[in-house]
């Protein structure tokens, strides 16, 4: 910010170049702090490495944190210097400071640096987003589709929110409905999130997935699982009385475990299968109770 020296020299005395001091301190601090933040803070940032998408978000969060580190350094150095160096002596009579009203150079540099930072962040975020949607819900016709994998090669899983529980349907296994979410490891999954009543939000923190469950909408989020793990599922959109209790545990398991699990679920599901509605992208249940 203070690339241009700002100190106007008082007559005769050797001027203290406050601007240069702050500038140098800022550069030194930033050069030290930014790599430290990226190397040591980055890896422990959320949401961890439970899936490719979660890993991508960790990288994204690391870049964001590293980018804002110099900004924080500038403010810290500036205020530490200004508030100590330019304070009025306690009890002294009111004395005005120098009437500096403007400095075109500082304004230009400030605008250029903030604009460059902002454009970099927006560009980087867009690049990350367009890879595969970063685990976010993208609506019924996603724009950020993962490259190198065809839609029909992905495991389709429908996530159905209702007050106050989640159920799941696997259309490639005959639309079987399950009470728990199991996913095979190292697999591309397309989560089709919808709701039967109000807006919910499907949040699997460790997988880096969040997608709102809207009634009448098929909200798609892509996910590439990594190794086996158990993960918490919570509702992240206020959905009424028991919103706070709308959580489950899901599991990423090996391919063989998944195959036997889904077979078991199909067996369990068989007696009630004919009562289930045909698999659809979304469902309109009977009209809800309404105020009047």
């Amino acid at each position: 910010m203070s690339a241009v020296p700002t100190a106007a020299s008082p007559a005769g005395a050797q001027p203290t170049n406050h601007g240069r001091r702050v500038f140098v301190a800022w550069i030194v601090l930033s050069v030290i702090a930014t790599p430290l933040v990226a190397i040591f803070l980055g890896p422990i940032l959320p949401p961890g490495n439970g899936s490719e998408q979660a890993h991508g978000q960790v990288i994204d969060n690391t870049v964001l944190t590293a980018t804002i580190t110099p900004v924080i350094c500038l403010l810290v150095v500036f205020f530490a210097y200004t508030l100590t160096q330019f304070r009025a002596a306690p009890g002294a009579a009111l004395a005005d400071g120098p009437p500096l009203r403007n400095h075109a150079g500082i304004q230009v540099w400030w605008v250029v640096l903030t604009t460059a930072t902002v454009l970099f962040l927006a560009g980087f975020g867009t690049f990350e987003l367009l890879q595969n949607g970063s685990g976010g819900g993208q609506g019924p016709s996603p724009v950020a589709v993962p490259s190198g994998v065809r839609q029909n090669q992905m495991l389709q899983v429908q996530v159905i929110g209702q007050q106050w529980n989640w159920t799941y349907r696997y259309p490639s296994y005959g639309g079987v409905e399950t009470q728990q979410l199991f996913l095979p490891e190292h697999t591309w999954v397309a989560l089709n999130v919808t709701s039967l009543d109000v807006i919910h939000s499907f949040w699997a923190y460790k997988l880096g997935v969040k997608a709102d469950a809207n009634p009448g909408v098929d909200n798609i989020a892509y996910l590439q699982t990594r190794g086996p793990l158990s993960f918490d599922i919570r509702c992240a959109e206020l959905c009424g009385l028991w919103h706070g209790y709308m959580y489950q545990t899901g599991h990423v398991v090996s391919q063989s475990q998944f195959a036997s699990w889904i077979k078991q679920q199909q067996q369990l599901d068989k007696p009630v299968a004919r009562y289930l509605p045909k698999y659809q992208r979304f469902y309109y249940p009977d009209p809800q109770r309404r105020a009047g």
Binding site: F79, R101, L129, G208, A236, G244, Y247, Y284
Partner: protein, 629 residues
């Protein structure tokens, strides 16, 4: 418009029975029952239907509208139009110049309205704060039910609505109403009766929100998302009516400010001489006047969905819940800048006084304020990044949201360079302004994570976003609100506030505030969603830390209230005309400011920031008034 003295003061009983707050409350209760039974009479044939479904929304809504109407009539808002319609001269009651009664009735003096706002808003801020204490009490334990789940959600909703609704006018209500006419050299606002109307309407709205507990509360939080909204009990109607009335109040307040600032500036007060506070008020008022009508329209549609079975927002009946989300945030995002911008303006207004330097980069600061208010219209979908709406527009909203940090940065650089090489005095108002930099820096930088879609996938709807907006709104608005109180209340009341007590308040509140909200970033990063009554046991330590800090924060505000009232009522140390050595015009007037502000209309020849540029001539002409100015 010279002072109109009321020669003979009527006896107390007559005054109590006249048009005032007491009459307003009585007529309000009466109006409530008129609406209630009137609606029952109208819909009598369908009462069986209402009984069958357990809800009678229509009677409740009409009852509240009748109550508000009665309240306003009792306060005397119909006196002027009715008297003029019937050919009588208007009553001068609303132009009274002295007495406590003015504060409890319709008064068109902008200074009285400002002080009414200060206490009125303060009352509801206090109630909202108590709700927050109860929320944090519930969260002391991961699964402990201090309150039933429905009560907890109502607490969350009332806290959010109270803060987002009432505090919207937190700076413009008390301080802009009081100071803008003085700062621009006028003797009143452009529409004084509308000015009073906005205040009393806001009070009625706040009272309506409180009564939601008698009707089952509401489960939606302050956002009122559909279709949960239409499922809610009758308490939901209280939320809708509250926010719609707040919207009307905000619209009128904004319009009044715009017209006043544009048309009533004194001679010589060009746009580049306007105090930066007035610029901040203007940019906020533009947002208010344009955004609040969207809210009123949205909530009217929601009310129709509930009361007369329309289907604007109900997906299973052909409506769209996305429509509600969109409309709500078209209002909702300008709304958060309505809360933040006055804070920017107060910081920039006060820094020159306490750094003894001119405001650095005046035009850049104005560009920052106007730039934020312009850009804030183009960012609303960042609230619904993962909702599945319009996936291909996410890069645009990511860019527009991040662009808003550029004009926000203008405010930062102007404030920072104003401090640079100044003679900084650490008075209480200055400490609150400096805290703004700290709080808003953290609030703004955490906003970068929320604006970035990949990062937002995790942080959206979590405690992280909750911490973010508390840093920007409580750290941005409430801290500057207190800066304004310590800076201007001596001028408004004529009572000097103690620096020592004020500094204790500052450090107590600043440390407790950060101790409360900084861990919330971590809690959000670790995966706790907002508005839940349960959380994993592993997060209990952090949650307990936050709760205890929140109680300490609450105590700091209680400490402020006690010391504030104690000093105003008992100590009453008279304030100097200019305790801060400010060059601003309000500090050239006596404390408190006389009823008609100026004997003669001032003539401006410079902005109020000429510190270090030699003595400035007062814009207030000396000598006796030469007739009507």
């Amino acid at each position: 418009m010279s002072a109109i003295a009321v020669a003979v003061r009527p006896p107390v009983v007559r005054r109590l029975l006249g048009f005032n707050l007491l009459t307003g409350v009585l007529l309000g209760i009466g109006g409530w029952y008129v609406g209630w039974f009137g609606a029952h009479a109208v819909v009598g044939p369908s009462l069986a239907y209402f009984a069958a479904i357990d809800f009678n929304e229509l009677s409740l809504v009409l009852a509240y509208l009748g109550g508000v109407t009665g309240f306003l009539i009792g306060l005397g808002f119909l006196n002027y139009p009715v008297k003029r319609l019937l050919g009588y001269p208007p009553s001068l009651r609303e132009k009274e110049t002295e007495g406590w009664g003015r504060y409890f009735s319709l008064c068109t003096d902008h200074k009285v309205v400002g002080i009414q706002y200060l206490w009125g808003i303060g009352l509801f801020f206090f109630i909202g704060g108590l709700n927050a204490m109860l929320i944090r009490f519930e969260l002391l334990r991961p699964d402990h039910q201090a309150f039933p789940a429905g009560t907890y959600l109502t607490l969350v909703g009332v806290h959010g609505s109270m803060m987002m609704g009432m505090m919207t006018s937190g700076i413009l209500g008390p301080f802009a109403n009081y100071l803008v006419p003085i700062m621009i050299g006028a003797r009143r606002m452009a529409f004084p009766r509308i000015e009073a109307f906005t205040f009393w309407l806001l009070m009625a709205a706040g009272a309506i929100l409180q009564t939601t507990i008698f009707w089952g509360g509401f489960p939606t939080g302050w956002t009122g998302y559909e279709p949960l909204n239409v499922e809610g009990y009758q308490g939901m109607d209280c939320y809708i009516l509250f926010f719609a009335l707040v919207g009307i109040s905000m619209t009128l307040l904004g319009l009044n400010m715009i017209v006043t600032i544009v048309t009533m500036r004194a001679p010589g007060l060009t746009w580049t001489r306007l105090p930066i506070f007035v610029w901040g008020v203007l940019s906020t008022a533009i947002l208010m006047a344009l955004a609040a009508p969207v809210l009123v329209a949205t909530l009217s549609m929601a009310l129709l969905d509930r009361v007369v079975q329309t289907n604007f927002f109900i997906p299973s009946q052909g409506g769209s819940s996305y429509l509600y989300e969109n409309l709500f945030w078209v209002f909702g995002h300008p709304e958060v800048y309505i809360l933040a911008l006055p804070g920017f303006a107060i910081v920039l207004e006060l820094l020159p006084v306490f750094a003894r330097k001119p405001l650095w980069g005046y035009r850049l600061a104005v560009a920052g304020l106007l730039g934020v208010s312009l850009l804030s219209w183009f960012v609303w979908q960042h609230h619904i990044f993962v909702s599945g709406i319009n996936g291909d527009l996410r890069p645009f909203y990511m860019l527009s949201t991040e662009l808003i940090s550029i004009p926000t940065g203008f405010t930062f650089i102007c404030g920072m360079m104003t401090l640079w090489r100044g003679n900084i005095r650490y008075t209480t108002p200055m400490l609150f302004c400096l805290a703004w930099f700290f709080n808003f820096l953290l609030g703004g930088l955490s906003g970068v994570f929320l604006s970035d879609v990949p990062s937002d996938v995790t942080t959206h709807g979590s405690f992280f976003s909750m911490a973010h907006f508390h840093y920007t709104i409580m750290g941005g608005l409430v801290f500057t609100f207190f800066a304004a109180i310590y800076y201007w209340v001596p001028k408004m009341t004529g009572v000097q506030l103690s620096e020592r007590l004020g500094k204790i308040h500052f450090w107590w509140m600043f440390l407790a505030f950060n101790s409360t909200f900084m861990p919330l970033f971590a809690i959000g990063f670790l995966g706790q969603p907002r508005r839940v009554v349960t959380y994993p046991k592993s997060l209990q330590f952090l949650n307990d830390w936050v709760s205890v800090s929140a109680f300490v924060l609450g105590l700091s505000l209680l400490y402020f209230l006690v010391t504030f009232v104690y000093q105003l009522v008992f100590v009453k140390k008279p304030a100097e005309a200019n305790p801060w050595g400010s060059r601003s015009i309000e500090f050239r007037l006596p404390s408190p400011v006389p009823v008609h502000n100026f004997d003669r209309i001032p003539v401006f020849s410079s902005d109020p920031y000429g510190y270090g540029e030699g003595p400035a001539p007062s814009p207030i002409p000396v000598g006796a008034p030469a007739g009507r100015d």
